[in-house]
């Protein structure tokens, strides 16, 4: 074996839950030629078609893209992970021939430790592992925890080492995630005080949310777990921000939130591979995870995992020459495009804190967050007249249109900097992205690197006009 090192690519793959048999076919998002201010179009891209019986790839072709099957079931996103190797300076997607008879084996370990995150009980960690394998069958990922009922597990999906063929000799595995079901701790609905809820006839109510009861409530304390957040007092530092984000109900005392004992089948973990011949052992690993389906698959959020990773990898600043003027201009346009795609999904009048016939504070908004966290007076973020959804979207589309003229972005000061997320002044709250919460509970901002790209793009003459007259 002449290989110097191996890698699994991509090093991070995120699957999406779904209970249909067939995964989503591959696709690209493109801006349609004649609709530069329209939404992106989903365009079929080459898809690897796997034969269920043999585990071999039998075709690579563009197929229609649908997100549900004929039965209305959601198609999962099931990513492929490829084995690449380096020989000298040459990196290539490996085949069995490249291994020259060396043994190859895989191991996948994933877990869901959401309950442990709440209870702190290590016995609440649900872990699944395949142990080492080399065969081409589906290897189930059965998540088990010490606090589960005997013999019970949560299926986290499976992983499969695809059978190389003459037509598709490259080495790869595929992770197919779980179906997106809810699991529980009791077959019947319980009230926050632990007693059973009865229907009108005095009968126990089966919990219709549950796929299966897996959690042993007599061993673990998840069912009925009480996460207390006393109003107007500092949070416990161990809590998530915001806290109490699990299925449950209010308790009798102020600030109590009682768990319904639910679990889900999301997971994340690592895929390991080992290639060995004689004394030589090459190893690599990649990360996988499974999240909920995309319900707006033709758009991107303002700030994505990609943006986080890019910043983690390349840093928050940009050196001269890292990007051309045109690349930075496209970056600015991309942010604005994501903005109007996101606005499409928002109820901007409600999120702005406008008054409705039902009153104010009728939804979970940043205004409520500002009021609860900082005792800020209730006050709409923007002028209430200005936040009509289509109007706000149109305004952002107009900016994309002007950027297409080559005029540099002029809105850098309206973007919220990373150190302004807690600025609750009128001006601070109106910065962009507006009305949205980051994972830290405060106003969303771009990554520092995203911000920096737009800042540098803006340092051009307003009359620059693209490349034509670059000073």
């Amino acid at each position: 074996m002449k290989l110097d090192e191996i890698r699994i690519l991509p090093p991070l793959a995120i699957a999406r839950l779904g209970n249909a048999d067939e995964p989503v076919n591959n696709y690209d998002l493109q801006v349609a030629e004649g609709r530069p201010l329209g939404y992106r179009t989903i365009v079929p891209a080459p898809t690897l078609v796997v034969d269920e019986a043999s585990g071999a790839i039998v075709a690579r072709e563009c197929r229609p893209v649908t997100f549900k099957d004929a039965g209305g079931r959601i198609r999962p996103v099931a990513p492929f992970l490829e084995l690449w190797g380096r020989e000298g300076t040459d990196w290539r997607h490996l085949t069995l021939d490249d291994l020259q008879g060396a043994a190859i084996r895989w191991r996948v370990t994933v877990g869901n430790i959401k309950v442990f995150r709440r209870t702190g009980d290590p016995n609440d960690r649900a872990i699944a592992t395949t142990e080492w394998f080399s065969e081409h069958a589906r290897m189930p990922l059965a998540g088990r925890a010490a606090n589960f009922l005997p013999g019970k597990s949560i299926p986290f999906g499976d992983v499969r080492f695809l059978r190389p063929t003459a037509e598709f000799p490259q080495l790869r595995v595929r992770f197919t995630p779980a179906h997106g079901y809810v699991y529980g701790s009791d077959a019947f609905v319980r009230k926050p005080d632990g007693s059973y809820a009865l229907d009108g006839g005095g009968y126990l109510q089966p919990d219709a949310n549950l796929r299966d009861v897996v959690y042993d409530a007599s061993k673990g304390r998840w069912l009925g777990h009480n996460e207390v957040v006393v109003p107007n007092t500092p949070f416990e530092p161990t809590l998530t921000i915001p806290p109490q984000i699990f299925a449950g109900a209010s308790g009798t005392a102020p600030g109590e939130w009682i768990s319904s004992g639910y679990l889900d089948d999301e997971c994340d973990g690592i895929v390991e591979v080992e290639v060995g011949a004689g004394e030589t052992r090459l190893r690599a690993f990649a990360r996988i995870g499974a999240g909920p389906p995309a319900f707006a698959p033709d758009s991107y959020p303002i700030r994505t995992v990609y943006d986080e990773l890019e910043q983690a990898m390349l840093g928050p600043t940009i050196a001269e020459g890292d990007y051309t003027d045109d690349e930075l201009q496209r970056e600015a346009e991309e942010i604005l495009r994501r903005a109007f795609e996101t606005i499409r999904l928002m109820n901007t009048t409600l999120m702005n804190g406008n008054e409705f016939p039902e009153g104010i504070d009728i939804g979970s908004t940043m205004l409520r967050q500002d009021k609860n966290d900082a005792a800020r007076a209730w006050e709409p973020i923007m002028a209430p007249t200005l936040v009509d959804n289509l109007a706000v979207e149109s305004l952002h589309q107009n900016i994309v249109g002007v950027l297409r003229s080559g005029a540099p972005p002029w809105f850098i000061s309206t973007l919220r900097r990373f150190d302004e997320i807690g600025d609750l002044t009128d001006l601070g709250r109106r910065k962009m992205p507006a009305m949205m919460r980051n994972a830290d509970g405060r106003y969303l901002c771009l990554t520092r690197r995203q911000h920096e790209k737009i800042r540098i793009a803006s340092l051009q003459f307003a009359s620059r006009g693209g490349k034509r007259g670059t000073p």
């Binding site: 201010l37 007249t385 109007a391 249109g401 297409r404 005029a407 007259g469 000073p471």
Partner: protein, 470 residues
Amino acid sequence: MRSRFARHLRSVLSGGPSSVGMLRAARAARPPISPELDGHQYAIFLLRVAAGIEHALMAQYLYAAYSLGGPTVVERHRATILGWQETILGIAKEEMGHLITVQNVLRLISGPISFDREDFPFDAAFYPFDFTLEKLTRASLAKYVYAEKPPDWSGPLADEITKLATAANHEAAPNAVSKLYELMIETLADPEIVPDRAFRAETRSTQGSWSEWGRGYAHGERGNTHGASPAGSPDLIIRVMSSRQDAVDALREIAEQGEGTTLTDPAHSHFQRFLTIYQQFAELETAADFHPTRPVATNPVVEDALSEHPSHNACTVITHPVTFYWAHLLNVRYRLLLSGLTHVFQSAAASARPTARSELITLVFGEMYKLRGLSSVLVEMPAHRGGDAAHAAAGPPFEMPYTVNIPLREVDRWRWHLSMLTASRGILEHLVADDDPARRAFAAAIRDGDRALIERIERVIAGLEPGDMT
């Protein structure tokens, strides 16, 4: 200046007794400045003159700012010139704030709003100087400094600038804007001239507010990326008013932002900001490698047909066959912007829910953004058939439409906007075939955006009450 304005200002301009004094005198049975105006009308008249001046200054400052830049700017001057551009754009935005506040005063005292202004060329009269769209030069800066100067500014530099500004204004002495504001403040402050009953607090909700129009331009929070403007600027003054005192305070604030006599930090004034640029310009212009601007046209205009024979002596007729359509497009979108602005100030009051007012304000800002893009295109395009932009570029013509009035009925007002989009569509048919890919992409984006805008306007029309339709 058109005689319908000038004839009411003769005594003011001739340096005779102030018109306010004459109005007071009128009450003592002496002839007033104009027998046709009472005090209330006179205040409205002055405010409309002021609106025209703010509008004109804004257009000229924008033109000057967009003339800056281009391939002739060498690296060592780049930061300075970028700073000038941002500073002047900031001042132009503040003029927009002044214009809105003046409209608010007009609303407050029940006067007709005005987004009209003189087109060029016209004589100065009460206006600071001849309206001229031109690239930024030391001479044009001298005019801007003079127009914004405090009344008592004197000294060798003042003399130098006065001389240069006068020469640049065809040897006619320019006027300082402060004179008009002083007169307006004096007029509005005096209950003998404008009675208490003229101030209508109930108009508040129909006035333009900072939260609707400010766009974050407060205390230098926005629009000073290069740090060339003094900290705390630009700062848009948009005041909603209920009383005489509110109006007087707002006008005083505007005047102070211009001349800076009583500002805590006079460096924030337009006068001082222009003066700083003037001094820097004077220092740099002797350098052989100092070429801060593009060779944009002076007073570019576009005829309704391509002409090889310019008809205006003081103007530059755009005859390049592609530039011609871009310039027309800018004029149509400028007209749409002005119609939209007029419509907002004549529309229903701001409310707790989005209304058609929201659509209008969005339309106005959308058109402002487009004017920005169109200006950046036009300063890079040749003015003349067969010419090239490196020697004679065009520039945004900002030509006033034949009317800024809008129809009486609400439904017709929306149809009015639609008709401009129809005209725009005809022009865009030419521009989506432009040879330049970036310009072509811009034209395609405008056309795409217009498609959605037309749909939204049609939805507004469909939702109007039957009473508005007939």
